[in-house]
């Protein structure tokens, strides 16, 4: 049975909520009554439950199997976190209630902030950014504000080719020109080239770097890179997407970085929910701390204060704040989940998280590199994700995309494809620490089986995959050429 669209199923005179009668009053709408039909279909509660239950069953999800998506860190989402986030004391409080009535909420934010600062070895954190990219923006705004406050007019930001697309987008947004940093043969930043550029670096405001990088490798020269950037008068922004690989084992602050966002949904397992919501707190070095955004929580004795705009000018520690990034105080619902996850693991468990994540990735790398092309596979261990390319498929007419779609028929979500851009036909596999060895063995078995068949069987079979999913390959070109973006019935 195909599930029709809500608009094909519902009707404007159907509904699934009961409401009390409306008291008769003289309206005060100034004649602005909405009279035309809106066109919003409704369904009874039984039909609503069925509609969304049926739709949900068209999805793949972590609860069903592994999401080996490099750079995305799709790990198990504990249900305890969902339960905690739904405590009325967190879920049913308004962002503008009097401060005395939300002391527990502010204490929670303060405790999470303490963990994030301590785990990263950084002295300040901005909690309000709504997602990783928003956090990047926060970090780069602070860097720009710091340069401006110092009267510096630097306009160049250096970004490695392998960076997430958000990095250059963010730098550009802050008025910066983006220049590439070259990579060496082992997939790391070319330190010599970087130093050469920084030798004439008076125009360089910052370097944005991902560490562990998007090839799944730790930048061994990170301390030296940071020192060189600082010596040149710039700041180092670290994309924290891959913090999962090192949490509890390495403090980014010890490497010398100035700002880093933390995707709570990645390292600290807030659920991805089909695309969000996220949360992207940003930790800052002492140099950038004064420029951190508002609002922030301040503890005085046993009392928590929420410092909003109005008090900024009386604050001594944030007097250069670049301002407010969101309407309220950030993603409270995600904070609760992340703290629940963090407390559940503790400092010992988080360290184990990094170790198991790295172990799992190296196990996948070791188990596949004889068959799959592993560009950096012989350069030593990877961190939390393993990078492969489709070079081994050369001559078959098949690509990474075909392999990914064939994997769907084996019952798995594909790996990240065609990212990072520095590798041709990249396949980036990040198992995360919540996968068992048995689960990895299943995935490895399926990948080897598919790859072997692709090397030996008729290519057309694979061009047609997937066959067993709720849908075959979808025509994305047609969708973009003549977009149908809402129901036209």
């Amino acid at each position: 049975l195909e599930e029709p669209l809500l608009f094909e199923k519902g009707a404007i005179d159907r509904w699934g909520v009961d409401l009390p009668d409306v008291p008769a009053v003289a309206t005060r709408l100034g004649g602005l009554e909405r009279t035309a039909e809106i066109g919003l279909p409704g369904l009874s509660e039984p039909d609503t439950v069925r509609h969304y239950t049926r739709l949900s069953r068209q999805n793949y999800a972590i609860d069903m199997g592994i999401f080996p998506l490099g750079s995305c860190t799709m790990k198990h989402n504990p249900r305890l976190n969902e339960k905690m986030a739904r405590l009325p004391g967190f879920a049913d409080i308004h962002p503008l209630q009097p401060i005395d009535t939300v002391q527990g909420a502010l204490a929670l934010i303060d405790q999470l902030a303490h963990w994030l600062k301590t785990l990263t070895g950084m002295p300040e954190v901005a909690m309000s950014p709504k997602a990783g990219a928003h956090g990047e923006l926060c970090g780069m705004l602070a860097i720009r504000a710091a340069h401006d406050a110092a009267g510096s007019d630097r306009r160049v930001v250096l970004v490695p080719e392998s960076a997430h697309g958000t990095n250059p987008a963010t730098a550009a947004f802050c008025g910066y020109t983006v220049e590439d940093i070259p990579a060496d043969a082992r997939g790391r930043v070319d330190l010599a080239a970087l130093k050469a550029r920084l030798a004439n670096g008076s125009d360089v405001a910052a370097v944005m770097i991902t560490n562990p990088n998007t090839c799944g490798l730790f930048e061994p020269d990170m301390i030296e890179i940071c020192a060189a950037v600082h010596a040149a008068g710039g700041y180092v922004y670290c994309d924290g997407a891959n913090f999962n690989a090192i949490v509890g084992r390495v403090r980014p602050g010890d490497l010398g970085i100035d700002a880093m966002h933390i995707n709570l949904h990645k390292t600290f397992s807030t659920p991805h929910g089909g695309g969000g919501p996220g949360s992207g707190p940003v930790v800052f070095s002492a140099a950038l701390a004064p420029f951190a955004p508002l609002p922030f929580v301040r503890k005085t004795g046993d009392h928590y204060e929420l410092v909003e705009e109005e008090q900024a000018h009386v604050s001594t520690d944030h007097d250069h704040s670049f301002g407010r990034m969101v309407a309220f105080h950030g993603q409270m619902g995600m904070f609760v989940r992340a703290l629940s996850y963090i407390l559940s693991h503790g400092n010992d468990g988080l360290r184990q998280v990094a170790e198991d994540a790295v172990l799992n990735a190296n196990y996948v790398l070791a188990s596949l590199k004889d068959l799959f092309s592993a560009p950096f596979g012989d350069a030593g261990p990877c961190m939390h994700e393993a990078l492969f390319s489709d070079a081994f498929l050369e001559g078959t007419g098949l690509t990474t995309l075909d392999l990914a779609k064939a994997l769907i028929d084996e019952g798995f979500h594909p790996m990240t494809m065609y990212f990072p851009l520095v590798v041709h036909g990249a396949m980036l596999i990040e198992p995360t620490e919540t996968e068992s060895k048995a689960s990895l063995d299943q995935l490895i078995g399926a990948l080897r089986s598919v790859a072997n068949r692709m090397l030996t069987e008729d290519a057309n079979i694979f061009k047609g995959a997937p066959y067993l999913a709720p849908r075959r390959r979808l025509d994305e070109t047609a969708a973009a050429r003549k977009p149908v973006l809402s129901w036209q019935g």
Partner: protein, 452 residues
């Protein structure tokens, strides 16, 4: 470690396959100076579920919830009753734990939901097309201003004094290092003057006028004349809606000529959550669709000709366009959008209209009661479910005193505009379907006492 499946035996078997002597061998690239050899000090070790529940439960109990007593706080976030089935459905693992639907063959559930969501939002706002959601209302508004610049190639945005001050603050922050020029006006209690002044100010440099309806004081206004003024000058009208339930009763921005409509969708399907996660709505006219920020889901067919859905027009987005993207956003509020869509489906048009009418009627009733208290003046003439009253004294301490009596009375203008003494006696009061007559009584009695 209940979330970590590897046993010690697994770990050593895997190290054997890898050919590494121990786990440290996998961290060789980390400089020795940055290697930590033990768990980080100053942090607690792992806790059992029960311990976590106790610790977080204790924090939760230190907050006064919106259901603990009479509650009239709004100003951009609203307490509505969300049916139990909404939360049940969004907790299905297939929705909760799925990824962004980049593999459409195995993500049709999420994609169809987004397509339906976009369709619902477009209709609700009376616009042609809506995106698949953004972070929240405030960031949506900023994105709208950027989009207006891209469309008009002009850089002056004129912002109504009735826009939520947090929203304006976000706009100011995010345009600090861009070419945009943001023109704002100090707020006062007379919204009609504000709209007239905006209409008069629109000029050939104006990319857009940004106006909120109902505005931060609760005022609702006909924006048609302002839209006409904008269009005559080649500028766009951006309308912000922070209480979308209002659109079940009052004319939609699209019906009054808006070019871009942004909104905070929290009111439908989502709880208060102390401010987040919320749900940014974003809609515009068909002709501007390729300048829109954010994810879009579109209809297409699969290899067998079956209808299906995909993320589309992604060439606008950062993961493809990198520094030339329309926005750096790469997350939406998928789960919040799902909750919105489910609640909207349960309401349907008739339910939404009834809910809106109920909110308005209750607000009118409370306004009438409060207006009869000596010294209290209801300032807002036309409103939906929220209105401003002027107290005979500064409102911010009054709100605190009422909270001590168990009444969360609203948002003082002193909190929203700490530097604007002229507004200090103002209190914005929101009334939804969750307020009972007993709540009204308690509010009135407590206010009487505090003002006495």
């Amino acid at each position: 470690m209940r979330y970590l499946p590897l046993t010690p035996a697994d770990r050593s078997a895997m190290l054997g396959v890898i050919g590494a002597p121990d786990i440290d061998a996998l961290f060789v690239d980390v400089p020795a100076a940055a290697q930590l050899s033990a768990p980080i000090a100053g942090l607690t070790p792992h806790m059992t579920e029960l311990e976590v529940e106790r610790k977080l439960g204790a924090l939760a109990r230190r907050n006064m919830t919106a259901s603990d007593g009479p509650f009239f706080v709004g100003a951009g976030a609203y307490k509505h009753h969300v049916p139990a089935s909404v939360d049940h459905l969004i907790q299905r693992g297939e929705f909760l734990t799925s990824y962004t639907p980049y593999q459409p063959e195995i993500a049709q559930g999420t994609l169809q939901v987004l397509f339906e969501f976009q369709s619902q939002v477009a209709r609700l706002l009376a616009m042609d097309v809506a995106n698949a959601s953004m972070y929240d209302g405030s960031t949506s508004m900023t994105e709208a201003v950027f989009m207006a610049r891209r469309v008009t190639r002009r850089k002056v945005a004129r912002v109504s004094s009735g826009v939520h001050p947090h929203y304006t603050a976000v706009l100011n922050t995010l345009t600090r290092f861009t070419d945009d020029e943001i023109v704002t006006r100090a707020p006062d209690f007379t919204p009609d003057d504000d709209l007239a002044a905006l209409a008069a100010a629109v000029d050939a440099d104006t990319s857009c006028v940004v106006v909120q309806n109902p505005n931060i004081f609760g005022h609702v206004a006909d924006l048609t004349p302002l839209a006409d003024a904008c269009h005559a000058a080649g500028a766009l009208l951006i309308v912000v809606v922070t209480e979308v339930v209002s659109l079940g009763l009052i004319k939609a921005p699209g019906e009054m000529g808006a070019d871009i409509v942004v909104g905070e969708g929290q009111s439908i399907g989502n709880g208060l959550n102390f401010g987040g996660p919320y749900l940014g709505l974003f809609a515009t006219r068909d002709k501007y669709v390729r300048q829109m920020p954010g994810r879009l889901c579109g209809e297409t067919v699969d290899a067998d000709g079956k209808r299906g859905f995909v993320l589309t027009l992604s060439t606008r987005e950062q993961h493809i366009r990198r520094e030339k993207a329309t926005s750096n956003i790469c997350t939406n509020s998928g789960l919040c959008a799902l909750a919105f869509s489910i609640h909207m489906t349960l309401l349907g048009e008739s339910g939404l209209r009834k809910l809106a009418a109920l909110n308005h009627a209750r607000a009118v009733q409370l306004a009438d009661r409060l207006g009869r208290i000596p010294g209290v003046e209801v300032v807002t003439r036309n409103f939906f479910n929220e209105f401003t009253i002027r107290l005979p004294q500064e409102a911010r301490p009054v709100v605190r005193k009422l909270a001590e009596k168990g009444v969360l009375a609203g948002v003082s203008l002193g909190r929203l505009y700490p530097d604007n003494a002229a507004l200090a006696n103002g209190l914005v009061v929101a009334v939804t379907e969750t307020a009972t007559d007993a709540d009204f009584d308690a509010f009135e009695d407590a206010l009487d006492e505090v003002l006495a």
